[in-house]
């Protein structure tokens, strides 16, 4: 399918489709980028001359509001990092345990975990909110990492169990003969070997926590504790009549930059995580 020599016509056609794909994927974000540098007047008036359309004020406004925008970026980074750490701490030993279970147990356990991974978790928000109220976990950036870890646990378990199952048994047997304890085997033999799967899991969990909306919406209400998705939605809701689009566009740009970096740097891990999670899981 690929080794056939291509004619000039089919090459041009392919270039056209690739260009179209890029416009489709990036166009809306580029539009936000342009809007973020456009003055409020120019956004609603296309008669203005080219040179009077541009401004940096949208960005200045973002950084001088109370709380300043970087606060939301900080909150999201904090929650997402903590969630990732917590999830891996629970999921790595659990995945090892699941990989060692006898087959008949493992099958039904895996079915339950797959079911949880498929579940549209937004339906859980009411009961989770009740738990937050009962145990006074609302408005707490550390506490919210608990439901986040639990919600990303099914995917983490599927990915990591598959990684442990792929390791040859001889390896661990040899380490056992050397007299290494369970903890030592995990730490010095198995953990380095599943590092790629752990990295994939970590980046997917991080992205989930960074983007999560319904739980954050119900658990966090203090304006200085909001995560990015909720803060964005609040800008939309607070001013129903005139959403400050220029400022909002600037917020999308600033909020997208960390993700842009993450996706470009961890592309390989994201791809292998998503594909392994769905195929082996």
């Amino acid at each position: 399918m690929t080794d056939k020599p291509m004619t000039r016509g089919s090459m041009t056609r392919r270039t056209f489709w690739i260009a179209l794909l890029m416009v489709w994927s990036l166009g809306p974000m580029l539009w936000q980028l342009v809007s973020s540098f456009t003055t409020a007047d120019a956004l609603v008036n296309d008669q203005l001359s080219f040179w009077s359309r541009w401004t940096l004020n949208n960005y200045r406004d973002l950084l001088t509001t109370d709380p300043p925008f970087w606060r939301y970026l900080f909150n999201s980074s904090f929650v997402a990092s903590l969630t990732t750490l917590l999830t891996l701490m629970f999921a790595i030993p659990a995945a090892y345990g699941m990989a060692k279970l006898p087959d008949r147990w493992r099958g039904s356990l895996r079915a339950a975990v797959v079911g949880a991974a498929l579940f549209p978790y937004v339906l859980l928000f009411l009961a989770l909110l009740e738990l937050a109220r009962t145990f006074a976990l609302g408005n707490n950036l550390i506490a919210i990492a608990i439901p986040y870890s639990a919600l990303s646990m099914p995917l983490a378990l599927l990915l990591l169990t598959a990684a442990f199952e792929a390791l040859p048994n001889d390896l661990e047997d040899a380490a056992k003969l050397e007299g290494l304890s369970l903890w030592q085997r995990l730490r010095w033999v198995l953990l380095p070997l599943i590092a790629p799967a752990s990295a994939s899991t970590a980046i997917l969990v991080f992205l989930f926590a960074w983007n999560e909306y319904p739980v954050a919406l119900t658990w966090l209400s203090r304006s200085d504790l909001l995560t990015l998705p909720v803060a964005m939605a609040r800008i939309a809701g607070s001013s129903t009549y005139s959403v400050p689009y220029g400022t909002y566009a600037a917020a999308t740009v600033l909020g997208a930059i960390p993700l842009l970096v993450l996706v470009l740097v961890f592309q390989r891990q994201i791809v292998s995580g998503l594909t392994n999670g769905s195929i082996k899981g």
């Binding site: 974000m29 090892y96 356990l109 009961a127 989770l128 646990m153 998705p229 939605a233 939309a236 592309q267």
Partner: protein
Amino acid sequence: MTMLLAAPALLLIAVVFGWPMLRYAWLSFHADSVLTGLEPVANGGANWLRLVADQRFWLDAGQTARFALISVGLELLLAMAIALLLHQRWRGRGAVRALTLLPWALPTTMMALGWRWIFNTPYGPIEVLVRSLGLNSLDLLSTPSITWLVTVFADVWKTTPFITLILLAGLQSIPEDLYSAFRLEGGTPLQGLRRVTLPLLLPYILLSLLFRLAQAFGVFDLVQVLTGGGPAGSTESIALYAYLNGMRFLDFGYSATVMLAGFLLLTALILAGTLLLRSCGLLRPLDR
């Protein structure tokens, strides 16, 4: 011993996924709203009777199913085309693949308001374009028969990369030899797609279909921010209706009933889909 290692994580899953379902089942047989002073009071099957007669719920259920089926269908077609494009070898393919992932990685709420700006009447670029062509204003965000298509569009934009990746992994698992053999026997590329690629890709297609249908059925972030369920409730989903019942009308008993009913409907939808595919013989390759 090994079971002990797995226990904390499994317990966490059981609490966060299992407990809410039990709680909803219990709450759905109680009145728990402002009228009862936010204390649960058993009310028999009143919530369920109300649900059966609740036109808004059934309308939302239909809208949710329509949204899920059409967006996932479009995503699958588009992802198939993109995956075939990305599967070919050309310079810069890795960078393009990374950039196409970007829409999937952005928070839904963030782009939802971006879409509100882009589809806005009269200042959004789409509207400006339509007017410069001398056509009538589309009023994309305030016409009930059109706005739900905007939500479909936004969902397709965001989640197509996810399906693309799964299908791409599937394509890469098909050995090249199969195509060479097929060509030697005189098959055309289009026949190759139909007779070699699609059958071998089927498990991947079904898997992404199942996962995406379940997620799209729970659509919440997108409609809450982009349309707020409007205009005239035309984009309201089951999850949004449950949210409004709980957080705006403070009727927790009924909110729990709506969520449980939504879950049951989704399960029924998936079961019906599985049976349908099985009766067409499409699942046979998976039963091995």
